[in-house]
């Protein structure tokens, strides 16, 4: 032991110095455990706090159409008790230790996290390890939680006209891929999910070799890895079924979809098929999104919101962190008195302009500066820093987050025009328009109170 120590220390110092020279992730270490679990530790002692995150490589893309929403419903059930813990005890224990916990599900993964004082880290690690293997999945609890998810869907999608349009656009743009359905599922697919299905889904995918744990904050790497070994080391991997996700065939003509709903203003959302961050084009696509929509000085705001005032808002956004090829969006809300079609024409004009002439040097440098500043400012939050690393790890390697910055620096103005020409074509677009229906909104007059009036 002693003999090897000085050598190890020298090596680490060299690595750290090298990484610091590039201004990169010198504080990150990773370790693979024999049961297939990977741990990533991001050391940062600015405060006596940690974020602990467990990432499962399972999301809505791994589901079947008729029972879409399983990953997300399972996420809810993870808070409803294990062999050791009663329902909703998990969060209570985290909170009485001053922490906060939550979870989120995406198309590609399901993530659980706790932000807590570093001295309480073992408590949450123990509980996460417990629910990785011992989930109770009580049938009655599940039926009740299924109702909760339906309420969540009503709130987030059914009663939110813009989110409802997003769902229509994605379902239209993707017909073969499992990205077709929303993460939360359709109301009628959520209803189909039974406790038995969820149990089998849990057993299939919640296995240490399908998970990555991240500890970010006030933790020494060796101590962190020891804790991972202590709580997760003995969990046996489970056999996992192979999931077949159909690649989306190339789109060969514009698609249009209209949604009629009670709303005050129309809304426009166009989606283009694009590759993800694993493609060399991804850096230029990020540059394109930034030139079009990075701040109030960007082209869409300047032209459509500020000068012509046809839009209340206008944006372009690139979703580069999906596991499979996903979407580049352009859209916005027309200003009162203007139509979605006017906004669409305005957006298309800006897109055609950047296809023909590359952005100026100033615009390109501005876009790069913004992306770099965002990277540094993101490090202000432990949670955000860990989340970014986790997203890239789901794509294959957390180191991609540093590579991203390096490659963005190399993007040329010609690259930006080239990817606009390549991907932002009419034939590759799905255009969604929210057509507002006038609602029968009315306020009833106030009444004096009493217990009787609502019954």
């Amino acid at each position: 032991m002693l003999k090897r120590l000085p050598f190890a220390v020298v090596l680490i110092l060299l690595v750290a110095a090298n990484a610091r020279a590039q201004g990169m992730s010198s504080n990150i270490r990773e370790k693979d455990f024999p049961n297939g679990l990977k741990a990533i530790i991001m050391e940062d002692h600015k405060a006596p706090l940690v974020t602990f995150q467990v990432w499962y490589r399972v999301g809505s893309r791994d589901e079947q159409a008729g029972t879409a929403g399983m990953s997300h419903l399972l996420e809810h059930m993870m808070f409803k008790g294990t062999k050791r813990l009663g329902p909703s005890e998990f969060s209570k224990i985290v909170q009485k230790n001053g922490g906060m916990d939550n979870a989120f599900t995406t198309k590609d993964c399901t993530v659980y996290f706790e932000d807590i004082s570093s001295d309480r880290l073992p408590i949450v690690m123990r509980m996460e390890a417990d629910r990785m293997q011992n989930l109770r999945l009580d049938p009655e609890e599940m039926l009740s939680e299924r109702d909760v998810v339906m309420e969540e869907r009503r709130m987030r999608t059914d009663d939110d006209p813009q989110n409802a349009l997003y769902e229509e656009v994605i379902a239209t743009a993707f017909k073969a891929s499992s990205y077709h359905w929303p993460v939360i599922g359709w109301m009628n697919s959520i209803k189909n999910i039974t406790p038995e299905m969820l149990r089998s889904y849990y057993k299939s995918f919640y296995s240490p070799d399908n998970a990555v744990v991240i500890i970010a904050g006030d933790v020494k790497p060796d101590a962190g890895f020891n804790l991972v070994q202590k709580y997760f080391g003995a969990i046996k991997p489970r056999p996992m079924p192979k999931v077949y996700v159909a690649a989306e065939p190339p789109q060969t003509g514009e698609k249009r979809v209209y949604l009629k709903k009670e709303a005050q203003l129309p809304y426009l959302l166009t989606a283009y098929h694009v590759p993800n961050a694993l493609s060399p084009d991804s850096y230029a696509l990020e540059g394109l999104a930034s030139v079009l929509s990075g701040g109030k000085s960007a082209r869409l705001y300047t032209s459509l919101v500020y000068r012509k005032q046809v839009a209340l808002s206008a944006f372009a956004e690139y979703d580069r962190l999906s596991k499979g090829p996903f979407a580049f969006y352009a859209g916005g809300t027309p200003a009162a008195g203007h139509t979605a079609e006017e906004l669409e024409a305005g957006l298309n004009k800006e897109i055609e302009k950047i296809k023909k002439a590359p952005p100026t040097d100033f615009e390109l440098q501005k876009a790069k500066n913004q992306i770099e500043a965002e990277y540094t400012m993101g490090q202000d939050s432990l949670f955000y820093e860990a989340e970014t690393a986790g997203m890239y790890e789901m794509l294959g390697d957390w180191r991609l987050k540093d590579k991203f910055i390096e490659n963005v620096r190399k993007v040329t103005a010609a690259d930006v025009s080239r990817v606009a020409r390549k991907y932002l074509t009419k034939d590759n677009s799905t255009v969604g328009i929210l057509v507002p229906l006038k609602g029968k909104t009315e306020e009833k007059p106030p009444v004096a109170p009493g217990e009787g009036h609502v019954r």
Binding site: N97, R146, E151, T333, A336, I371, G439, K440, P449
Partner: protein
Amino acid sequence: MDVKREVLPNGLVLLYSEKHNLPLVMVDLTVKAGPLDEPADKAGLAYLTSALLTEGTKTMTSAGISNQVDFIGADLEASTSDDFTTVSLSVLKKDLDKGFRIFSDCVLDPVFDPREIARVKAQTKDSLKQAEDDPEFVARKAFKKAVYGPFPYGRLVQGSPQTLDAITRNDLVKFHDRFYVPANSILTVVGDITPAELKALLNKYFGNWQGRPFPAMASPRGPQEPKPQAWFINKEITQATILYGNLGIRRDNPDFYAASVMNYILGGGGFASRLMADIRDKLGLAYDVHSYFTTDKHKGIFEIGVQTKNRSAKEVIDLVDRDIEQIRSRPVTAQELKDAKAYLTGSFPRKLDTMRKIADFLSQVEFYDLGPDFIDKYPGYINRVTADDVLRAARKYITPDKRVLVVVGNQSETGLKLTPLYPPLN
């Protein structure tokens, strides 16, 4: 935490905390200017003044400002809340000088160009229109109006289309002259900046900032207790958004901490709260249910909020009533009290876990006069609360006989009805 506080010769309060873990600097200017300082028929004046700070100065056009801010990847934002206006800057250390120059120029020398005024007014009106698609916005707008009546907290900080139209350029210039003075402001700087660097920047960019000592504005009388009311607003949606509550407490009320503990147990404590257990966990009737006290200079609101499918609205209102009845009639359990205190004290460090949060927190501590040692004293304030204090706070600050209830949803499905026994107030 090491925080320095200083009152500069021009009256500006400076709060400063040096942190070198990242090459970043966060700056907040808090100006005591908000809806309380504007006439009702020009509601939105404080908001519009702040919104125009970044839309043109004596040396930069609106486009010039956004181009320069975006070029250094900084964030520069101005916003107005019930009690004050905040202008905040997040900037990389290497661009600190440029960031400070733009920041001070926007705060000190805005020109209020008539074309920009017209544009921002139109944009604000459209945003307000679009916000009507959010049931929670519709519900809260009605709720605050019902709780506060004519008191300024009862209206939107953006005002209304009519009051926005009534605001002239001269109003904006005068409001800015009067309130954006050093003796009426707090400057908070947190991050990778040394005392010498800060001093040099202040001299360079705020050195000439003067202004008559701010005459203490006679605060309007606080809000009156509202008459109990129910508002049922019809919207063709699948869920009813229910807001239920009453006039709450001032931030400087000594019972603030007892009320915090009580609120955590009732509905502020997420999955540890009674409302969440009874409405979501046991019955699956809602995704979100919460309660809170807002904390302002004058009395804030106490609000319970929940969304449920239209036809469960009645059932959920009954459940809320039951939990309120319980917390007002029996002391909370020793375990509940202990867990609430453990969370409120134990979670405190997480309120200060980023430079941005620290800057915002320090500004608020100063604004609400919570004392320089607030961070150290806070656990004591919480730990002293007893079960009797909690019961007393529940009885005193949740007042079902003066409640305001707002339900936005499809009223033919909720089946909620105003009974003729209770005629309209007007």
